[in-house]
Symmetry: none
Subunit: 224 residues, 2 copies
């Protein structure tokens, strides 16, 4: 298990790394946001401990950037600020957990165990596309932190779209994957469900994520 520790206070960083190594992890240190991004994007780490206050690019920006690149490495935020807003922001950006400074090392270690175990636990069941998040475990969907309620069918269609984000899928592909077997008879169910989804997740926003490609099918896109 490789852990990256991003913390600009050298002493603190050294201690955490030392502690991790003692617990049997392989740990690397990193002291600023820019290089953190680069390291994380290598996708060589099983987890990242990320301080929020960093010189230059802060922790939030780092997380946002790597998530936008589709990197799913679990991140544990380290924060001195205790406000709920910060925590919420961090978790919404795709952090897996957070811990408030000052913290107990035992607790930090416990959280890291949880974080890495989760990853070992095979499937990351969360998909992201721009500001849209689809969590197949919680069966929840959010766009810009707003919760979106979907029926089972609607949910299935959206999952199919987000798994193929930025790729145009035909109605037949959607139908084949969700309405099992080849019920060849033409119907416009797919169109109708696209409509339901748009109503719930696109109508309130100026940027429309579900786009029609005339003569072909539909695509789900994050902002360009």
């Amino acid at each position: 298990m490789r852990i990256l520790v991003v913390e600009d206070e050298k002493d603190m960083n050294r201690i955490i790394v030392k502690r991790l190594v003692a617990e049997g992890y392989c740990a690397d240190a990193c002291y600023d946001g820019e290089s953190a991004c680069d390291y994380i994007c290598l996708e060589e780490y099983d987890g990242v401990i990320l301080d929020i206050m960093l010189p230059g690019m802060d922790g939030f920006e780092v997380l946002k950037k790597v998530r936008e690149k589709g990197v799913q490495t679990p991140v544990l935020f380290l924060t001195a600020r205790d406000s709920t807003a910060d925590v919420v922001k961090g978790l919404d950006l795709g952090a897996d957990d957070y811990i408030v400074k000052p913290f107990a090392f035992q607790e930090l270690m416990a959280r890291i165990r949880v974080m890495t175990r989760k990853k070992a636990d095979v499937r990351e069941n969360v998909y992201r596309c721009g500001a849209l998040t689809v969590d197949c475990n919680a069966h929840s969907v959010t766009r810009e932190e707003k919760n979106i309620d979907l029926s089972p069918r609607e949910f299935s269609v959206l999952v199919y779209l987000i798994r193929n984000q930025n790729i145009v899928v035909t109605r037949d592909q959607i139908a084949a994957n969700i309405w099992d077997s080849e019920s060849e008879s033409y119907s416009n169910v797919v169109d109708v469900y696209i409509r339901y989804l748009r109503k719930k997740m696109d109508d309130d926003f100026s940027f429309k994520m579900i786009q029609t490609v005339r003569g072909v099918g539909y695509v789900l896109r994050g902002e360009l």
Copy 2:
């Protein structure tokens, strides 16, 4: 719960002890490092409040010594010095938390609660989700400190839900885990038990912890 207060200023020590007793703890006082070591090594305490500046052997040395002896009793450092170096040193030696003087008693109490609860949770078999607590040893359930009486089956279902908190579980999953093996025949026992649980733990509250995900199953959630 027994707490040892190690602080050489007699007045301060007396006040902390008094306060702890008022909160229902059993608290002992101790005024120097040497005797602190001896007391802690008895392993009769559930937590220690340890001042760093002590006559003779200081707090760090005390902690180091007892940890070397393998004593894992949780320790909360009390320190006037605010420097990171001290804190890091303390945590690295195996302290669980620290608090800087002057402190608010409320905060001290909160940290002690955390410290002792953590210990209790590991030893016992306790799950938490928001304001809900399920103790598998005592077979007791509380929500916002109000006791909730459950039948054995109801209890099992709730334990299954809380172990999977924030993850949607299907009726089949619940059934498979509680009504042993695959009793094929469809029945709505699970629905009925969910109903019983709701009646006992959700009906009196505005926030409903047991939520239905139509077409999928149920989730137990703390407040969002």
